[in-house]
């Protein structure tokens, strides 16, 4: 009996309030711009905040009402961007160059570089409050995965070396991990660029050596070897100008500390161009393009040869050769 009256009463209350609300929703209905609805449906809906607006709905409103470019969303797929541009009658300006997060640290997890065993809260921000983190290098990745927790797209996993591994396909460059990292070692770089200086320590060479085997000591060898002036040394730290870098890997091979990495090719030792002589017609294009005087020849019709000692494997001649007879061979 009691249960029936309870059900009846709650049902009655629910019905009455439902009726009032349904009446009110018609009486006080607000017509929303249907274009905003379209924009919301085509935006990713992850509400990651990478655009700087409060969630996808905020960006949708800004796109429709203030004419903010659709490409403000770093996450949106090309197909949806095109659809949205058509739906809103806006020009599809194309996406910005796709970016991806890159961890500028490759510190080894060796015990000799550990300052102390941290057993507190598993959070990087908390860990650096204790004597600036558990590692001797003040700039090393804390390794507790605050970035992994911040990533909404599952693009970050903590690797075996107490360093985050970023899935550059999944990464949408929303920048949440960049803000989550208390050491500021995550940077957004062009997704396609593969050569990175995996260090963020501005300390002087000897100080870096004391706390890390693979930190940048600011020796400047990379800046010297780079034929494209893409590397400068700033605050004892090599910095790559990604606009100039052609990913030849010369600096990767040269770096004495193995700080500069070529993504996807661990243990990369450099490469050298090799000319398939029978196919060479002696057009001198490779001779002209080489910035290192590493190509023998120069008089037309004379077959070219590479001088291995001078070649850094930048690949400029490979691109230029009309007969496609130059290949890059990795060094032994």
């Amino acid at each position: 009996m009691a249960i029936i009256s309870a059900i009846l009463l709650m049902g009655l209350l629910g019905f009455v309030f439902g009726a009032i609300l349904s009446y009110a929703s018609q009486r006080f209905s607000v017509t929303v711009d249907p274009r905003i609805e379209t924009a919301i449906s085509l935006l990713p809906g992850a509400n990651c905040g990478g655009c700087g607006f409060p969630g996808c709905a905020g960006l949708a409103t800004a796109i429709v009402e203030k004419g903010v470019p659709i490409a403000t969303c770093p996450v949106i797929s090309a197909a949806n961007r095109a659809k949205l541009a058509i739906a809103l009658g806006m020009a599809d300006t194309g996406g910005a160059t796709p970016k991806a997060a890159t961890v500028m640290c490759a510190g080894l997890p060796a015990e000799e570089y550990r300052k102390f065993e941290y057993t507190g809260i598993r959070d990087c921000q908390a860990a650096i409050l204790v004597s600036n983190g558990p590692w001797l290098c003040p700039h090393r990745c804390v390794g507790l995965g605050s970035c992994e927790k911040a990533c909404q797209f599952g693009a970050i996993t903590m690797g075996p070396d107490s360093l985050p591994v970023i899935d550059r396909e999944k990464c949408t460059a929303c920048g949440k991990c960049v803000r989550a990292c208390p050491k500021n070692i995550i940077k957004l770089t062009d997704q396609a660029k593969k050569v990175h200086v995996k260090c963020n320590s501005p300390e002087k060479g000897p100080d870096v050596r004391k706390v890390c085997k693979v930190g940048c000591i600011g020796c400047g060898l990379c800046a010297k070897v780079c034929a494209y002036d893409a590397i400068i040394i700033e605050n004892n730290l090599a910095r790559i100008n990604y606009e100039k870098c052609v990913e030849c890997g010369a600096c990767v091979a040269k770096c004495p500390q193995k700080t500069i990495h070529l993504l996807g090719k661990p243990g990369f030792k450099g490469q050298k161009a090799v000319i398939d002589e029978p196919a060479c017609v002696g057009c001198t294009l490779c001779f002209k393009v080489c910035k290192f005087q590493a190509v023998k020849g120069g008089t037309p019709k004379e077959k070219h040869q590479i001088i291995p000692e001078k070649c850094v494997g930048c690949g400029a001649c490979v691109v230029k050769c009309p007969k496609k007879c130059i290949t890059l061979k990795p060094n032994e």
């Binding site: 309870a6 009463l9 709650m10 009110a24």
Partner: protein
């Protein structure tokens, strides 16, 4: 009688201030006290919801729950009332004052979970208030929230330009301010 009602009113506003004395409804108190404008809007919305909720929940308690001996459904039915009222208020504000709707943002639907509103409904029942007394207590509670919010917003607008130590900026100084305000409101104890 009138004296009793007046004292209920004063007690609800100052002595048993929901925010500063009973520590209820802290979320909007901290969240919406950035600017006086939105604080006024939020305060009025909460007051409106509180008064209506106080009256409606009293009626439900008196005419449905007690006669059918369903007092155990108190929390459930009260929350139903509050949720419906908040939804209603949201619709009205969205239609009539879109700028206020924008300013309140997520805190408007959060009035549903503002425990001050549920608190006032439950306290009305616990104190055996009549309909008028309930309404007055709710109005006082709402106004008390309103005042606390406005005072806080005023202080925070000045704190924006004050030379606050870096570590104290933002949330920390807000909490300290709230604590000091609560201590100040203790001064009203014994007024009635």
């Amino acid at each position: 009688m009138t004296g009793g009602i007046f004292s209920i009113f004063i007690v609800a506003i100052f002595i048993e201030n929901f925010v500063l004395n009973q520590i209820l409804g802290i979320c909007p108190f901290v969240g919406v006290s950035n600017k006086i404008d939105s604080a006024v809007g939020m305060g009025l919305a909460v007051t409106f919801v509180m008064v209506l909720a106080g009256a409606v929940t009293w009626s439900i308690q008196e005419f449905f729950l007690v006669p059918f001996r369903l007092e155990y459904l108190q929390t459930l039915s009260f929350i139903l009332v509050i949720a419906a009222l908040v939804q209603f208020v949201e619709m009205v504000i969205k239609k009539t004052v879109p700028t206020l709707y924008q300013a309140l943002g997520v805190y408007l639907p959060l009035i549903t979970t503002n425990c001050a509103v549920l608190g006032v409904a439950l306290l009305n029942v616990r104190k055996n208030y009549s309909l008028v007394e309930s309404a007055v207590n709710s109005l006082g509670g709402g106004l008390g929230f309103f005042f606390a919010l406005i005072l806080m917003a005023g202080i925070r607008e000045r704190l924006e330009v004050a030379d606050t130590p870096v570590a104290m900026r933002g949330a920390p100084i807000t909490f300290i301010t709230a604590g000091l305000m609560a201590i100040a409101f203790y001064g009203f104890a014994g007024l009635v």
